[in-house]
């Protein structure tokens, strides 16, 4: 990874951070409804893995903390924000919301709100890739708590058995909603739980994007070469609560302070400054530029976009004019 790549990734991660923080404000202003699960603290996981993948080509799926993954795959941040605003111009035309961002043209398959639901869907994407003979892979991003669902074990077994090209990325942020991992999970190192399926499984620091990138490169090389699935556990931390309705009262201030010292943006920024590739002033300028861009382009677009029309309430429930509904094209 050269200096230019690092600077671009710093830009992308800072953009993701400011985007999510602006979502928080819009939620407080009641511009965004429903549930809102924010990503600050975990940026190096998404950006490190997808930097090593072919973002936009590889088939990506995740849970409800999905805005940043969609954007890194190529989704237009304006459309993501418009979706959060429930607008017709949103990525899911206002029908999905924060937990159901989709951008299929960039091979981002959503945004699912049942914990653990995407595991088998990811294996299915991989089965489809294998049948069609492409060399893309499926990548499934989920949190540690999803591994306590049956779908985790069912999908790992099937993926290993059928040698499916799927990378499971576990973003271990140590909490399942408001319950700390050691209070919900018998084995807290998630990679250890995968050994029963004979799938290579590795644990890595999820805060240092260069570490994530290298671990992901190795993982993706394995999966893309046809050797079957791979499990990558990234140790990370979310700064916000599970969702906006979370009091965040279950964590100590000391713990939060410790993790903030290992902030993924801070780590990369300091490294670039130390190497002489960035100045504090340039960073501040970049930050200002990003904040202005989000305000003047992204928020403006979401604010000014039209609402969906009630006349189209039932659109998208079923396929339109499917000839086989009425006995085929003849």
């Amino acid at each position: 990874m050269n200096a230019a790549d690092k600077k671009r990734l710093l830009h992308e991660m800072l953009y993701a951070r400011r985007f999510e923080e602006r979502c928080y404000e819009a939620y407080v202003e009641r511009k965004i409804g429903g549930f809102l699960h924010l990503y600050p603290g975990q940026e190096a996981c998404c950006h490190g893995v997808l930097e090593a993948a072919r973002a936009g080509e590889d088939h990506v799926i995740t849970g409800y903390r999905d805005h940043v993954h969609a954007i890194k795959c190529g989704a237009d941040p304006k459309e993501v924000m418009a979706e959060l605003y429930g607008k017709e111009t949103g990525s899911s035309k206002g029908r999905g919301g924060s937990m159901h961002i989709f951008d299929v043209k960039h091979h981002f398959y959503g945004g699912y709100a049942l914990v653990g639901g995407p595991f088998p869907l990811a294996a299915g994407l991989a089965k489809g890739i294998k049948m069609k003979g492409g060399d893309e892979i499926a990548i499934c991003f989920l949190g540690d708590a999803a591994n306590n669902q049956g779908t985790f074990h069912e999908a790992l077994n099937i993926s290993a058995l059928w040698e499916l090209p799927v990378l499971f990325v576990c973003e271990n942020n140590l909490y399942g909603i408001g319950t700390r991992i050691d209070r919900s999970t018998a084995v807290t190192d998630q990679y250890k739980r995968v050994c029963g399926y004979d799938i290579p499984a590795v644990q890595a620091d999820g805060q240092d994007i260069e570490v994530v990138f290298k671990a992901a490169q190795k993982a993706i090389k394995h999966v893309r070469s046809g050797k079957g699935p791979y499990f990558l556990e990234l140790m990370t931390y979310r700064y916000r609560g599970h969702s906006m309705s979370d009091s965040n009262a279950y964590r100590s201030k000391d713990e939060e302070a410790d993790w903030s010292k290992r902030d993924p943006i801070l780590i990369l920024k300091n490294r670039l400054i130390k190497a002489g590739d960035l100045t504090e002033a340039a960073y501040k300028k970049l930050d200002k530029k990003i904040i202005d861009e989000i305000e003047n382009e992204v928020i403006k677009f979401a604010e000014e976009s039209p609402e969906p029309v009630v006349e189209e309430l039932e659109k998208y429930v079923l396929a339109e004019n499917d000839p086989y509904v009425h006995g085929g094209p003849n």
């Binding site: 088939h59 799926i61 949103g90 990525s91 899911s92 035309k93 206002g94 029908r95 999905g96 919301g97 159901h100 989709f102 951008d103 299929v104 043209k105 398959y109 959503g110 945004g111 699912y112 709100a113 049942l114 639901g117 595991f119 088998p120 869907l121 990811a122 294996a123 299915g124 994407l125 991989a126 089965k127 489809g128 890739i129 294998k130 049948m131 069609k132 499926a138 049956g150 779908t151 069912e154 999908a155 077994n157 099937i158 058995l161 059928w162 659109k315 998208y316 429930v317 079923l318 396929a319 499917d322 086989y324 509904v325 009425h326 006995g327 085929g328």
Partner: protein, 327 residues
């Protein structure tokens, strides 16, 4: 025209669709090497190989989700769930993923997956292998539910379901796989929506689906011979959406309705058909509609108790005679 069994008709539909399109696959427990519990996939493993005729682990939610995920990128999976009782385990993926993905993606993504599963009470299989679950599936927006009463329907509905871009649940019946019927030699696709008048009559309408179409036809014969009552029989092969216009047309003609279902009455096909009659043609009625349904109990093992649970042609006859005031 070939006179073949229900399972053979399903097998033929698989064979033709898999021959037609290399992206059609089938998957489920024991469907490959073993040829399927009810032989619906017999011979396909040898013909199409293990990548397309897939024996799955006993992980209903897992493999159903795998099929749904594969359908996101153009694969057309036909998933067999060995018994509808096991479909409960796959309900998360059917309900939360397949049925909702088109809507919650604003039309970007679709799940053109077929899920076939037999329900119904067979012979003393007990409470956990005798369920009827059509009432559960037909309440799910975004999911089509069809149910074949004949080999011809079993063939044509599966063919159309594979080609349709919506997720389709096909509700089969454990006691019907060996039923014989005529299936045209030429390829055809049965409509996934609508209903069919399978016996014309003037005095009342018997609404049935799947096995209860046959009970209704048997009852109609008895009613005609012994009571001089001419019943119309309507086959509701599409349970979701139900054919509102077809239901109303028949009731507007006969002015009486009896809904015959193997399932329990609460929140079922009968209650929904009654609601449609109320909404569409209440003032055409000469008598309050009646349901002939199963007892609302977990299916007992004991043969006599089991028989007492499930209705049959005699129960239909009795309900009609009472309704017509000839008891």
């Amino acid at each position: 025209m070939a006179n073949i069994m229900y399972w053979e008709a399903i097998q033929r539909a698989h064979d033709e669709e898999m021959t037609n399109d290399p992206l059609v696959i089938c998957m489920g427990e024991d469907i490959g090497v073993a040829g399927g519990t009810y032989k619906a996939t017999k011979g396909l493993f040898d013909k199409f190989g293990p990548e397309r005729v897939i024996d799955t682990p006993i992980s209903e939610n897992g493999y159903t989700g795998v099929g749904i995920g594969a359908s996101f990128i153009g694969i057309r999976p036909i998933i067999e769930i060995m018994s509808v009782n096991f479909a409960w385990l796959a309900m998360d993926q059917i309900f939360n993923s397949a049925a909702k993905v088109r809507y919650m993606s604003g039309g970007q993504l679709e799940a053109p997956v077929v899920i076939r599963s037999p329900g119904g009470t067979a012979h003393q299989l007990g409470a956990q292998h005798s369920a009827r679950m059509e009432n559960v599936f037909m309440g799910i927006a975004g999911l089509r539910v069809v149910t074949p009463s004949t080999p011809k329907q079993a063939y044509g509905l599966l063919k159309a379901a594979v080609r349709c871009n919506d997720p389709v649940f096909i509700y089969e019946h454990e006691l019907m796989y060996n039923m014989k019927g005529d299936v045209p030699d030429a390829e055809f696709f049965h409509p996934l929506e609508g209903s069919e008048v399978v016996r014309s009559g003037k005095d009342l309408t018997l609404f049935g689906y799947n096995i209860s179409v046959h009970w209704s036809l048997q009852a109609a014969d008895i009613l005609s011979k012994n009571h001089g009552i001419e019943a119309e029989v309507v086959d509701l092969f599409s349970l979701s959406p139900l054919d509102r216009a077809g239901i109303a047309a028949s009731v507007s003609k006969t002015h009486r309705a009896v809904i015959v279902e193997e399932s329990e009455a609460p929140v079922g096909v009968g209650s929904e058909v009654m609601a449609i009659i109320n909404e569409e043609c209440f003032f055409d009625l000469d008598a309050a509609p009646v349901r002939v349904s199963s007892a609302n109990v977990p299916q007992p093992y004991n043969h006599t108790l089991e028989k007492a649970t499930i209705p049959g042609p005699d129960d239909v006859v009795n309900a009609v005679v009472k309704m017509m005031g000839k008891a």
